[in-house]
């Protein structure tokens, strides 16, 4: 009897502490994430903006805001821009990062000066994106250093107008995102590879597996959870691409709005205090992010668990 009450008491005490420790997260999440999220949904159904010093609305307009941003080649077009620029940056990023992390983590290669290289590849991420973008804007301007170098080396007679053409503008944005994030990805993947049991590699080598086979049969399958994490974080980061293109293209997504990303479009509406349209854009971005993350997670993780069950 006595024993039972004691146990009960202990149990209650523990759970109380558990809730106490969890509480800060839930309170902060509710105040700073959940309530704003719900109010965004609510705001997206109203016409509500300010022109100069005059406030218009809020007036309930139903789904008109959604019609507006989905028509006129609004959100679909900018989503496509975002996707293209993200892929242009992400594909080389994942390849280079994978290569570097396999080399760094390999026990047979034993790369020297690892911490030096790890620092160097991570460095671009420390620069503020806006400053980095400003730097590229100057480097690649019509009279900038890159054009001077190309001209004095005899490659071009007329300056190449990088920022006036769609492929080069998008390419530059992708290049910047690549440079800024491949270090981060390398370190994540390396942590994943180092977490794989060393004896698996040794066994494979004794059995005569080539490094290609080790990579495809051991590293890749066991790295899936980390790869999924990298994919999803990079995808979300890609959807939120803003500062680099905003600065590089003077905020208008030049040329021809082909470098306008979803968040730049959102920013356009927020800048004119158009909370209705901005709300609708935000809701769509939320849905796109949720759906894509769900698809990526399920697709890749089902393979992972599927393999495990087979094995």
């Amino acid at each position: 009897m006595l024993n039972q009450t004691l146990r009960k008491k202990k149990f209650i005490n523990y759970s109380k502490w558990g809730y106490m420790f969890l509480a800060p997260f839930f309170i902060i999440y509710t105040i700073f994430a959940l309530i704003p999220l719900l109010s965004t949904f609510y705001n997206s159904f109203f016409e509500n903006y300010r022109v100069g010093l005059t406030q218009v609305g809020p007036t309930f307009v139903g789904i008109n805001n959604y019609k507006e941003i989905l028509g006129n080649a609004g959100v679909p077009r900018y989503a496509m821009n975002t996707l293209i620029m993200w892929l242009l940056g992400f594909i080389p990023q994942i390849i280079v990062s994978m290569l570097l992390s396999v080399w760094f983590a390999s026990t047979s290669l034993k790369v020297k000066g690892q911490s030096f290289f790890k620092t160097v590849i991570y460095l671009p991420n420390l620069i503020m994106a806006a400053a980095f973008s400003m730097l590229f804007f100057t480097l690649f301007s019509d009279a900038g250093p890159i054009n001077s170098i190309l001209a004095s080396a005899g490659f071009t007679s007329e300056p190449i107008r990088f920022l006036a053409m769609t492929p080069t503008s998008r390419g530059l944005i992708a290049l910047m995102n690549f440079l800024m994030w491949y270090g981060n990805t390398t370190i994540l993947l390396m942590a994943g590879i180092l977490g794989i049991d060393e004896s698996l590699f040794e066994a494979a080598r004794i059995d005569g597996a080539s490094s290609g086979q080790i990579f495809t049969k051991i590293i890749l399958p066991l790295l899936v959870p980390i790869l999924v994490f990298v994919m999803i974080t990079s995808l979300i980061g890609g959807i939120q691409m803003f500062d680099v293109p905003q600065i590089l293209t003077t905020g208008d997504g030049l040329p021809d709005r082909t470098t306008m990303t979803l968040i730049m479009y959102l920013n356009k509406h927020l800048y004119s205090k158009n909370f209705g349209l901005a709300g609708a854009v935000s809701v769509l971005i939320f849905l796109i992010t949720a759906v894509l993350s769900f698809v990526v997670y399920n697709f890749s993780m089902s393979n992972y668990y599927g393999n495990k069950e087979k094995g």
Partner: protein, 446 residues
């Protein structure tokens, strides 16, 4: 759970009550010092006014007054957004945080004139009719609201001209003298012909796409917005066609306005024949851009400084203009009166701004005096440019201004730069223009 509810309730109550008690506290204390504000908050978008203020007013500033400069660039409406935010909360912040003076530019002056956010410079601030009598009429018309109250004053009038490089004119036209150059450029057909000659000798007639824009936009016969509908004046169409053909024929250097490339064209090895600009363009923009050594004396031989001349060009126009407005709610009315008087009414100050800095200042009498004097501007090779501007200044007509000019100008230049570059068609450029304008001004229709 009940406890938690109580705790949250307490938290919410505290967050409501605590700041409001503090707010009350500051309001009370602010009332006490109502008589004499010690902080002068000035909102501006560049340091032009700051320099004028420091040069011509700083010694009259009471020793115990601190001046706060809140400077936000104009581009992308950043300045207006910041100013609007501050004006809308003007009533709820302490006196030391209130805006006292803010500057407005011609492109969006009208947005603030007919509002309760600006004070009447005569009844509220204390300038007299006699003080502003000699100011150019158009500078007062713009700032007069629908009830006839004057809401701001300016130290400058902004007639524009074509500022040309003397050595290039000599090479292209055979003469560098203003009279001969004006004779060669006095209508657009002649201007085009000179552009062709300049091109054949390896020069660019204009720096870039936007250089001639103000000449056309200032000669618009209708407003940008009529009954909330976007209206395109034929003058704007002419600018687009001219710029496209100039670009295709290589008559311009493809630079964007305010870009490093554009100023590079004015440097000593630059190839640009000339720039369209008003008085402030001479001193505030081209002057510094042409110096090879910014620390050395501003004289002929330092870069291309002094190798310039000014003519009226093919068509008269005006560009810009900065007005000083007093914000409603200020506690520095007396000081603002002094600032406004010294910088916009005081003949001695206005004459020295004109003679020392080359700006065309806002006093008809003084300008006439200087025009007939032997004054010469060193940047313009000793030319008396005030005389060249005098006639255009009298004929400035800004009755087709609208509060939307800044956004329209910026979006038009950005959208059409793609068309001039040859990336997109003209129709596509118009589409992009409408899209960006409607994002900026959701109340308008196409």
């Amino acid at each position: 759970m009940k406890k938690l509810n109580k705790f949250i309730l307490a938290l919410v109550l505290a967050s409501v009550i605590v700041p409001s008690t503090f707010a009350n506290g500051t309001k009370e204390s602010a009332k006490a010092e109502m008589e004499q504000g010690k902080v002068l908050n000035i909102y501006a978008w560049n340091d032009e006014f700051q320099t004028r203020f420091n040069t011509y007013f700083a010694d009259k500033l009471p020793a115990d007054v601190t001046v706060n400069w809140i400077i936000t660039p104009n581009a992308d409406n950043a300045y207006q957004n910041k100013l609007d935010e501050a004006l809308l909360v003007q009533d709820s912040v302490s006196n030391n945080e209130k805006i006292d003076i803010f500057l407005v530019e011609a492109d969006y002056a009208l947005k603030y004139v007919d509002t309760p956010y600006t004070l009447n410079v005569k009844t509220d601030i204390g300038l007299t009719d006699a003080d502003v009598a000699n100011q150019y009429g158009y500078t007062k018309d713009i700032m007069t609201d629908s009830k006839g109250n004057l809401k701001g004053v300016s130290w400058q009038a902004c007639p524009g001209g074509f500022i040309y490089r003397r050595s290039i004119a000599k090479d292209v036209l055979g003469s560098s003298e203003p009279a001969a150059v004006q004779a060669a450029l006095n209508d657009w057909n002649k201007f085009d012909a000179v552009a062709a000659t300049a091109k054949s000798k390896g020069y660019f007639m204009l720096s870039g796409y936007d250089d001639a824009f103000r000449v056309f936009s200032d000669n618009m016969k209708s407003k940008w917005v009529v009954n909330n509908k976007i209206n395109i004046d034929p003058s704007i169409e002419r600018w687009i066609d001219m710029t496209k053909s100039y670009t295709d024929m290589g008559y311009n250097n493809k630079a964007n306005l305010w870009s490093a490339e554009s100023w590079g064209g004015a440097a000593v090895d630059g190839k640009v024949f000339g720039y369209f600009g008003p008085g402030w363009f001479v001193d505030f923009c081209l002057g510094p851009a042409t110096l090879a050594n910014p620390d050395a004396a501003k004289e002929l031989g330092n870069g291309s400084y002094g190798d310039w001349g000014l003519v009226k060009g093919p068509q008269g126009f005006s560009w810009g203009g900065t007005w000083i407005c007093a914000a409603a709610g200020t506690d520095n009315a007396d000081l603002i009166k002094d600032v406004m008087y010294t910088l916009t009414c005081d003949v001695a100050t206005l004459e020295s701004i004109a003679m020392e800095l080359g700006d065309f200042t806002n006093n008809e009498k003084s300008m006439a005096n200087i025009a007939s004097s032997d004054y010469g501007n060193t940047f313009l090779g000793g030319q008396n440019h005030i005389a060249a501007f005098l006639d255009s200044a009298k004929s400035i007509d800004r009755s087709n201004m609208s509060p939307y000019d800044q956004g329209m100008t910026e979006k038009l230049m950005n959208s059409f730069s793609d068309y001039f570059n040859g990336t997109i068609t003209k129709d596509k450029a118009w589409d992009n223009f409408y899209t960006s304008v409607l994002e900026l001004y959701p109340n308008l229709t196409k």
